[in-house]
């Protein structure tokens, strides 16, 4: 992408005096590229490589990194956006916009001779006040399907069109509620994301169990069983020459042959142990047996299993060992001494699905699955990638809401309220730092302004309209992107994550302050790699 070449990479050598101007122009440059991303009416970016590979994104952070930033200012902003993404999974576009706007506001004052340090002092006061305002705007939620759906939908509709967003929201909420146990924190890794290049995006589904990206490697193994015991293990069932028996320089063929026999017998014993348990538990009943192994299983062992009607899968994902135990019950075994029924899990249905050279094994109908799979479908790679990004965002948003036990009204409502409150607060502060507070308040308004512009409305008109309404109304006032009118976001279920806003407030004022105090930024920029 070339947009960023607006930024002059020679900025490194800029003197401190010029550096502020450079920082401001750099931040503006990035802001310009990212602006059009914001909100459900923003623009999606399609990046096409020289060889024709396609990548689709609407995520601020992804875009920022596709731009290959060289400029130290820009890369500092990029790092803030990455931090935002790592911590909360959302709000990266907003972060960049607010930082840019803080610098623009600061520019005006600095041009009039105000020392940047005075401004940053004001920023910090404003930051603390804004956190307070944010806390007051929290809307506590019950953790249930409806409340979580609102949050998921708000987030996902900024990434994919409404129809798909609604499908994905339902799936994400369902996934999380299935694995949630009491008040315990949720481990998002227990939602496996599996891609299947097949059908269309809206065919994406939740499987309350596990989908593995491999199948049996023996022609005679059953392709579908019901009422199955599941043995999850991490035990080699393939013959492998031992170290002692390797090498040709120092051993005769005879010696080697003898060792091979002994070593093979050792592997066979393991397989026989499993088969014995299977016989004891399943023979004469309608029960079946499935082995899912993290280690290898060689053709000879597969053959022994196949003869017993056992499905055996090899080289399962390490993380699936844990997931399987949570989905089906049982324990992931590291040895077979004393193998018993209580070590096994259970699934009502296990079957294989083949797509070209790819095989998938579905382990379903688990009693109380504490690990589930979102099976993402799409006709091509770039859509799969896009859906995966969206699903991740959705899961994060839901998880944030659960941890926060609260949400914040979206659609610019928070920013409009914060502006109003900050301007009141400003009056209580003495001296020049109050200018910093005013600048900060003004900068927050960039969010509703850009939301308006991206929907085809005039930024100024919109802000005036929202502020008037907010003056009369104690309820939060946001922007309806279809009509351009003021609405209460609660009525439309438009909610953002509390933690996302909190992180934006904190990081923006800190980064903007760093950029204003140029000496520090010069050092930050230069410490990157080379001196």
């Amino acid at each position: 992408m070339s947009a960023i070449s607006l930024l002059n990479p020679k900025a490194e050598v800029a003197r401190a005096a010029q550096a502020l101007a450079v920082n401001i122009s750099a931040a503006k440059g990035i802001q310009d590229v990212m602006k059009s991303n914001l909100g459900p009416k923003g623009t999606v970016k399609m990046l096409v490589s020289g060889a024709g590979d396609i990548k689709i994104t609407k995520d601020g952070n992804v875009l920022l990194h596709e731009m290959q930033i060289q400029h130290p200012t820009a890369s500092l902003i990029a790092r803030a956006s990455t931090a935002q993404d790592d911590m909360t999974g959302d709000g990266t576009t907003s972060t960049v916009l607010v930082i840019g706007e803080l610098l623009k506001q600061a520019d005006i004052y600095v041009a009039e001779g105000l020392h940047p340090r005075v401004l940053t002092e004001g920023f910090d006061k404003a930051r603390l006040k804004t956190l307070e305002i944010l806390d007051n705007m929290k809307i506590p939620i019950e953790i249930n399907k409806d409340s979580l759906l609102d949050v998921a939908r708000t987030s996902l509709r900024t990434k994919v069109h409404a129809e798909l967003a609604d499908v994905l929201s339902g799936i994400c909420v369902d996934a999380i509620l299935t694995i949630r146990k009491d008040e315990k924190p949720i481990d998002l890794h227990m939602v496996e994301l599996m891609e299947m290049q097949h059908k269309t995006a809206t065919d994406t589904q939740l499987v309350k169990g596990l989908v593995l990206d491999h199948g049996s490697r023996h022609p005679d193994m059953p392709k579908r069983v019901t009422n199955a015991y599941i043995l999850t293990c991490n035990i080699s069932m393939e013959y492998e020459k031992s170290e002692v028996n390797s090498g040709f320089f120092y051993k005769t063929a005879d010696e080697r042959e003898k060792l091979v026999k002994a070593e093979r017998a050792f592997i066979e014993e393991r397989v026989i142990k499993v088969i014995e348990l299977k016989k004891k538990l399943c023979d004469g009943t309608d029960k079946t047996f499935v082995v899912i192994n993290q280690k290898g299983i060689d053709p000879m062992s597969l053959d022994m299993f196949a003869k017993e009607g056992i499905i055996a899968l090899r080289r399962a994902k390490r993380r699936n060992m844990e997931r399987l135990a949570l989905a089906c019950g049982g324990i992931a075994m590291n040895h077979l001494n004393d193998l018993q029924e209580s070590h096994l899990g259970h699934a009502g249905l296990v079957y294989e699905h083949v797509l070209g050279e790819n095989k998938f094994t579905f382990v379903e109908e688990c009693k109380i699955p504490q690990s589930v799979t979102i099976l993402m479908k799409a006709p091509n790679k770039h859509t799969l990638a896009q859906i995966k990004d969206a699903v991740r965002d959705g899961l994060r948003a839901i998880n944030n809401a659960i941890e926060d036990k609260a949400v914040i009204p979206g659609a610019g409502a928070f920013e409009v309220t914060a502006y109003k409150e900050l301007m009141k607060y400003k009056e209580t502060v003495k001296g020049k730092p109050r200018l910093g507070i005013a600048a900060y308040a003004e900068a927050l308004l960039v969010i509703p302004k850009v939301l308006a512009t991206n929907s085809g409305f005039d930024a100024q008109d919109t802000i005036v309209k929202l502020q008037e309404e907010s003056g009369l109304n104690p309820e939060p006032v946001g922007l309806d992107l279809t009509s351009g009118e003021a609405i209460n976001p609660k009525d439309f279920g438009i909610y953002d994550n509390y933690v996302v806003k909190k992180q934006i407030i904190n990081s923006c004022s800190i980064i903007a302050s760093n950029l204003l105090l140029v000496d520090e930024i010069m050092r930050a920029g230069l410490s990157s790699l080379k001196g």
């Binding site: 990046l47 609407k58 990206d213 492998e240 290898g296 060689d298 070209g356 859509t383 790699l529």
Partner: protein, 545 residues
Amino acid sequence: MGTREIVSLQFGHYSNFIGTHWWNIQETGFGYNGTESSEIDHDVLFREGLTVNGQVTYTPRLLLVDLKGSLGTLSEQGNLYEPLVDPSTADTNWNNKVEVYTSTTEIKNQFQEELYKTKNPREIFKKSFDFDNNVKVWSDFLYSRFHPRTTNIVSEYSHKQSSCFEAFAQGTELWRTQKFLETFSDKIRNYVEECDSFQGFHITLDATDGFSGLSSSCIQYIEEEYEKKPILAFPVIPSHYSDDKGIMSEPHFPNSFRVMNLAFCFDALNEHSSVFVPLCTGSDGWIQPRTKIEFNHVTYDHKLYYHSSAILAAALDTFSLRYRMKTHSYTLKDLCADFTTNSRKVVAASVCLPFSINEDSDFISCLDKWEGPLTKSITPNCSIGTDKLLQMFTLRGIPETRLKNQLSENKAQRHMPAFHCNSINEMLNFYLSCNYFYTLSSVTNVAKGVSVRTPFPHFFDDSVGANGNICATPRKKDLEDIPILAGLHSGSCIGDMIESLHSETKKIKKLDVGQFSKTGIEMQEISDCFDRLLDLTECYEDNYL
């Protein structure tokens, strides 16, 4: 026992140059007319696949990594399994505006253009293209087609700003991202899962830039995840850097980073790989490759990666044959066991390309007249010598019919002790036993030579005849397969090599070490690593063999 599969990994641009030649050599050498049955089991490195439309594919069992912008006209997912999606009709799942950012479209060179259009790719062999002037990135001369999972691009660093991915720690940090920890590791698993009799890994890696760290982390991961599976690693050093001024110099920033990357890389490989073979076509690989290694009948330009990587690829394809044959039961694991006595893990490689045998000569007379060592070392700072070695040679391209003159025409031959040898293998072994001292050697031989069909560089001189033998009259036809000899060696020379790297690290300025540390490695760790190099030399001391 069926095929014993190997998974190949390539990390970095120069590694991918080598890899590209290596896959090309194999594929252009496939016998397609059905009459010749190969001695080589190609399924060891290749896999059969199936597209959703039921089309059978045959692709390298390979994952490669390179930086953004390094692919040229090659698309990341390739078009073997499905056609590329047209951006103008691509589904965006978005009902509002879409902005398209298109990088300048890369234009296919003439070779790629013709390969793309032709129905029979083998027609390409008869043509010649100006690769020397047109190859910019490895995909420019790629003949093979890849599986969609093969190509992995690092989007954090750009190929064109070559100076940005230059430190070991950047690579280890990169490994910790989801792209590698999850996606890439999963792809390894997908390959291994398919294999019925998986024998281990081949890993070619750029050892002087950030890829040293990325690959080291990957190797550590593989060691943990696939315990007992051998890892044969080839740390490679490019044949040339653009900052080479042709004068001897002390290591100083930024090229001192190369030395430190190498030190960390060797340290990690010694810890986590099974055996590793450093490769370079320059004799002094640490800061600068310097003097290029000369081969008889080859005129190559070491500034062209396209040339130098071809030599290394031909060597790799040859010395790896021992565990890729249909008839042998020898495996990677055996090779590793054979070479790792006394916890030695580093092995040197050598090659003779072409293995020059006169058109009218027998193998016996060829050896009889041979002067000097059979092969040249392609491991930097390592002169292999003829003393106290453990070595494996692979000779290809000399059929048994060339062994000796059976009829009594040549009296002189009959009096040579070697005349009693009844096979190429036996005779070469005999030759080695006479010319090396206190040395354990083994020989593998294959009748067919190495394929040097287009797109292999046309850098052989005219005296190399169409059959690859040395002829009195200049060659008229294009070369196809030529004889080659390559070897793997362990001995005290390895200790000298590591010693020389260690002494290079001692010359690095404090300031530069400080810079290196800033990329994410503690100062203490750096000096510990240098010290361990020195310890390492001990197990190569003579008296141990």
